[in-house]
Subunit: 418 residues, 2 copies
């Protein structure tokens, strides 16, 4: 079977000048890798006719699939559309369906279509119009010069939407792709090297058509198993056998598989056990609640939260004893225990969790340096606490603390290590 | 003066397959932009001889400076060094200074030099050896075929070190660089095309050495002005003149400049006016609080928040009248007004803001479709409300609503449109 190749072209001066990090090309790479398309090159060019046309002509020599992002806005520094028309030697004409979609997009938002935006419904005659339900710049699909081409807006969520609803299914339909089966095991609460030590014998004994990769991220490690062959069902069974072997070795740390997030996994257990939860967030400042409520249906188990950011409201509003705050400080085991207990009571929840710490960059002291964070989980069984000693980056400290709180909640729900 | 151009080539299969996000090229872009070198292209290729040599030969046609990262490890899938020798038609020979440096690097870490690592001190005869104090893969500098070339390891901190101590100073020494001045105007609350319509005459009259670009993101549009010339102070003044011309046209929407975020801008005004703020977040589920608390020092003006996610706590805990909820529903102007007033009172804040809406994907009705969001801002002057009609994506609805709330707060603080 011939290998199917792709090239990704990102267009925009802002990418070359370093004003925006191109995350699109990376995401597209991952998606193509999943379906067995080999990316042979990524190119970034500016808003410049000669460079864009050169990128088109050299890409078509190498790749079966050419995916283009950016340069599609309604303003005159956006060149992708006119240059695709020029490159494929066709004119740009109004497409009623595209104009109607743009018009509807504006109407739904109670706004009138401007002449400039109406032009977004004018397209090269050689392209197939692809509706962009997330924005006003249409997708354009071409089958020209021995390759397939797709032009998408540079706005990440619009690009992702077009890839998911149109491009990836279309590629799978057109090209004979090799069979690849991926499965990702998601773990939390253990570092990459410890995990590797625990599964080293299993890893060494993996069959040669199954590859393992460690993908660490903040507080979590993903184990990606990739099987290559020609029978999808067989690959799926082969990987399942390996997962059944490795699971007993690291059971405590596995919270889910594939795309499932920790907040989704925790939500599922809460629904299953018919339990509710609330948070008292100090140093995490709302980020735990944000993660929990990013999951659709979270109103079934998330009652709410209090963020007593200024210390006086830890007592006034949440009800922490003023003496506790005075004697031990806001960042202490004693305070975080009361915070968890009080928020559980206020919201009549089964579980109350709390965070209090010094996220930085200011506020540290020799006894409580920046990165000191206390977390607690209160339930009918009592209170479980944990002290984290993190680093000096505010953003990372907030994110890591939130992951730790969700991980603590998961442990209590699954009765592990209590 | 001739423009000095650069091309960045990143080498590695792991970049093409989406296993690693290439952050190097973005960082290098920023550095080159700062010193007036124009990046004309970024290319990513795999560990493949033909592709790498092709990238070299096409880069030298376009750029004066070619910066290469990756492919420098000691293992045989790392091809950069042998291919540079091949491309410049020279041999690879041991370089005593380089071997000594690698040896010392290992000695300092209590490790012995392996034969494989000793090979890292063997270099193409046409290169200038550049010591890498952070690792074992040397930097290699070439002046060949009418361009300068630098090969650096792909490990970010090693690359950055070589750029800072050697590459950037060397480029400044060799090339007569033009001067570039950038300024970014940040706006919120208006779409790209409306903004473009409002400033079209100004844009058309811009002097030829100043370029304008629109950089839209969720609920915000950045206007980037780039001036080219040879006198930095003069360019700064030229851009300032243009900013003074355009500001009156779009004053209401400008919240800041350059790297400043909306939450930072709002925080600055709150500090300046010595005011405090609190949020009652329903559909935004903590995201507004998360944005506000992502800014260091936010405890100076953010008192805290209540997230009454389950409806009963909108009355029980926040104090919204149960009749209001019963008669108008949780997603209504009446409810969001009381939420804003009550959270302002509970936290004794100058400003109380609230959100209540249907983020989706469930919960919509014909009267209140998914994406219906009410927001309010209460202050001593009264309450200001706004209804948003957003789309069907939960994540975007949450993010957009949070931006809208911060934008509403900013307007109240600056007394605009009240």
């Amino acid at each position: 079977m011939q290998e199917v190749t792709a090239e990704i072209i990102a267009i925009g001066d802002e990418l070359l000048y370093g004003q925006i990090q191109d995350t699109n090309s990376h995401w597209i790479s991952q998606q193509l890798d999943q379906i067995g398309v080999r990316v042979v090159r990524k190119t970034t060019v500016g808003d410049n006719e000669k460079d864009i046309l050169h990128a088109f002509s050299s890409a078509e020599k190498r790749a079966n699939i050419i995916l283009i992002t950016g340069g599609l806005g309604p303003t005159k520094d956006d060149l992708t559309k006119p240059l695709m028309a020029k490159y494929f030697n066709c004119s740009i004409e109004p497409v009623q369906e595209a104009i109607d979609d743009v018009k509807l997009f504006f109407e739904k938002r109670g706004r009138e279509l401007t002449p400039l935006n109406k032009l977004q419904g004018h397209l090269p005659t050689k392209c197939t119009y692809v509706k962009n339900a997330m924005g006003t710049a249409p997708g354009m699909w071409f089958e020209e010069n021995g390759a397939v081409w797709m032009s998408m807006p540079g706005v990440p969520h619009e690009m992702k939407h077009l890839m998911e609803v149109f491009v990836l299914p279309k590629i799978k339909e057109i090209f004979p792709l090799p069979v690849i089966y991926h499965k990702v095991i998601k773990t939390v609460g253990i570092g990459e090297s410890w995990l590797a030590d625990m599964i080293i014998d299993w890893e060494d004994a993996l069959p040669s058509h199954i590859k393992l990769a460690y993908l660490p991220s903040l507080g979590q490690v993903k184990l990606r198993l990739t099987a290559f062959g020609d029978d999808y069902d067989q690959l799926e069974r082969d990987v399942l056998v390996e997962i059944e072997k490795v699971t007993p070795l690291i059971k405590t740390y596995i919270y889910g598989f594939d795309q499932e997030t920790l907040e989704e996994a925790v939500g599922k257990i809460l629904i299953h056990q018919n339990k509710t939860v609330s948070f008292a967030e100090s140093c995490t400042g709302g980020y735990i609640s944000h993660l929990i409520t990013s999951v659709p249906g979270s109103s079934n188990y998330f009652n709410g939260a209090i963020i007593p950011y200024h210390n006086q409201f830890k007592s006034n509003l949440l009800g922490v004893n003023t003496l506790t705050l005075k004697d031990h400080g806001a960042v202490s085991e004693e305070t975080v225990i009361e915070m968890a207990q009080m928020v559980r009571k206020k919201f009549k929840s089964d579980f109350g969790l709390a965070s209090s710490g010094i996220a930085g960059p200011g506020g540290g002291s020799p006894e409580k340096p920046i990165g000191t964070v206390w977390i607690a989980c209160a339930s009918e069984k009592g209170v479980k606490t944990k002290k984290l000693q993190l680093a000096h980056d505010r953003t990372l400290n907030i994110q890591y603390s939130a992951i730790a709180v969700l991980s603590l909640l998961r442990k209590q729900l699954t009765n592990e290590n209590f």
